[in-house]
Amino acid sequence: MRNIWAITYKELNTYLSSPIAYVLAAVFIGLAGLLFSLSLGGSFPEATVRGFVGPGVVLLLVVGSLLTMRLLAEEQKLGTLELLLTSPIIDAQVVLGKFLASFLIIVGMLVLSLYFPILLFVFGDPDPMPIVTGYLAMVVVGMTALAIGIFSSSLTSNQIVAVVISLGINFILVITDIASRYTSGLLADVLRYVSVSAHTSDLLLGILDSRHILYFLSITVFFLFVTVRMLESRRWR
């Protein structure tokens, strides 16, 4: 546990001492704010955060990829992975520590965006449930994107390659929903089941269904597990 926290603490320091996290947070909050304010326009404005959570989910997939592309790729490039893996640490601790650090950054960004719902409560009378489940959706989508990103980062020492792979996997999860419309039968069902939007739409409406949460958690665990195996695989090769 102490090892995981040591890795997390180090990575958090790196995030906070480089511009990447700040720039990403600024762009995320800026775009989310724009989407939020646009959704409040029109002749019948609704007091919901749906306007920014929907596109925000896709935004988080990109943010997650960009946040994590460095995590293992740079260690491989600098050779620091050699010192890391030859210290008496378990590979899983390395992966979990790094995941936790990037997760805390995403949580921080979401906390910064909390002023949208606060504004709604001050000036309107919103239904709290969709707001809670909307934020929950962003948290679990964020986790998924980070896990996919860390996995991609373990594959290569080149950060650009890592981010491209990561975005590729993320977009597969997004476009399967569209693909399902052009297919039918079992294939369509499978494609719809795999897609991110199928699992976020209920959450956006305020319906809390554990199946959807489980979907994101299982993708997260799967990719973190595969990442650990990737690190271990250098011990078999």
Binding site: R2, N3, A6, I7, Y9, K10, N13, T14, S17, S18, L78, G79, T80, L81, E82, L83, L84, L85, T86, S87, P88, I89, I90, R234, R235, W236, R237
Partner: protein
């Protein structure tokens, strides 16, 4: 402390090392000597558990490096060749991070970091970012993290590569100082360095162990101490002729003649009192012997001899095969 048996590592079809066996006793300093690409780093990476051997096995302090990797890794302080460090951390925060990974208790870690920083004279830079340090200082930070948790075994891969000569001397002093209390495995392609630091030398060439022995034994078995440099006042041709006529002297080379004084190199045969023979010949000839220095066989020569004989025997094998 280290016991390696038949270590072999293939990268694809290319054998980086083949059947490398050696052992290092507690408190001993073993020099790993070989040209670049001879398999030093591969061997060290196997010992530190960074990658497994294709076949063979190794134990550190009784723990197998593959099956009991974590226990083995606890005993090792490792400095990889490229000295990989996180450039965005200060020395102190970096050491604190590494100390935590090495399971050091928090209370002890703090005082130990101060000790190590003092020991390696890094006080002035303790709160400087590693990225701003010169190569020599980074090397020291690398050594600092290796000795931080006071491991019984230090594995140092080319610790003096790429730093300036003054820093090389300092780094060697530091490593020499560690020798008394730690078991050290140090690799190098600089030969005098190893002879200066190590108790025993293992010479590796193209993935094979060519020789492993104490320095002086190595130069003796290869016929060391038979080469003598002399300075004589007298006619060079006559001296050369007289020396060559002595039984056991194989070769005489006139190096330079300055104002009637000749400098020569004489190659004798092992097991004969070459220097006495030379002195007697010079005195008998009525010339003046100014100076006489025995040449130990230098490590460069040992190395060349070992690797070229290896090569020569390989070549002759090839010839036998082709003629057969």
């Amino acid at each position: 402390m280290i016991e390696a048996k038949g270590l072999t590592k293939y990268y694809g079809n290319f054998p980086a090392i083949e059947n490398v066996s050696f052992d290092v006793k507690s408190g001993e300093v073993l020099g790993f000597l070989g040209p670049n690409g001879s398999g030093k780093t591969t061997s060290m990476r196997i010992l530190t558990g960074f990658m497994p051997p294709t076949s063979g096995n190794a134990e550190i302090g009784g723990y197998d490096v593959v099956t009991k990797s974590r226990d083995a890794r606890r005993l090792i302080g490792y400095l990889p060749e490229s000295v990989p460090l996180y450039t965005d951390m200060t020395i102190r925060s970096y050491l604190s991070f590494m100390g935590t990974l090495k399971d050091m208790p928090r209370a002890k870690l703090r005082s130990r970091i101060d000790d190590v920083i003092d020991h390696l004279s890094l006080q002035d830079y303790a709160d400087t970012y590693v990225g701003r340090l010169s190569k020599g200082y980074r090397q020291r930070v690398g050594i600092a993290q290796a000795i931080l948790h006071e491991p019984p075994l230090l594995i140092l891969d080319e610790p003096t590569i790429g730093i300036d000569p003054r820093q090389v001397v300092e780094t060697r002093q530091i490593i020499k100082g560690l020798g008394g209390t730690h078991t050290v495995l140090i690799s190098s392609h600089v030969l005098p360095e190893v002879s200066m630091i190590a108790d025993r030398v293992l010479i590796i060439h193209e993935g094979h162990v060519v020789a492993m022995d104490k320095m002086e034994n190595l130069s003796n078995t290869l016929g060391g101490n038979t080469r003598v440099s002399i300075e004589v006042r007298g006619p060079e041709k006559a001296i050369e002729k007289a020396l060559l006529s002595v039984d056991g002297i194989q070769e005489v080379v006139i190096e330079e003649v300055t104002g009637g004084v000749v400098r020569l190199q004489v190659q004798g045969t092992a097991g004969r009192p070459v220097r006495e023979d030379i002195a007697k010949t010079i005195v008998d000839g009525g010339w003046g012997l100014y100076e006489m220095n025995p040449f130990g066989l230098t490590l460069e020569e040992i190395f060349l001899r070992l690797t070229t004989t290896e090569q020569a025997s390989l070549d002759s094998d090839d010839e036998e095969e082709s003629s057969a």
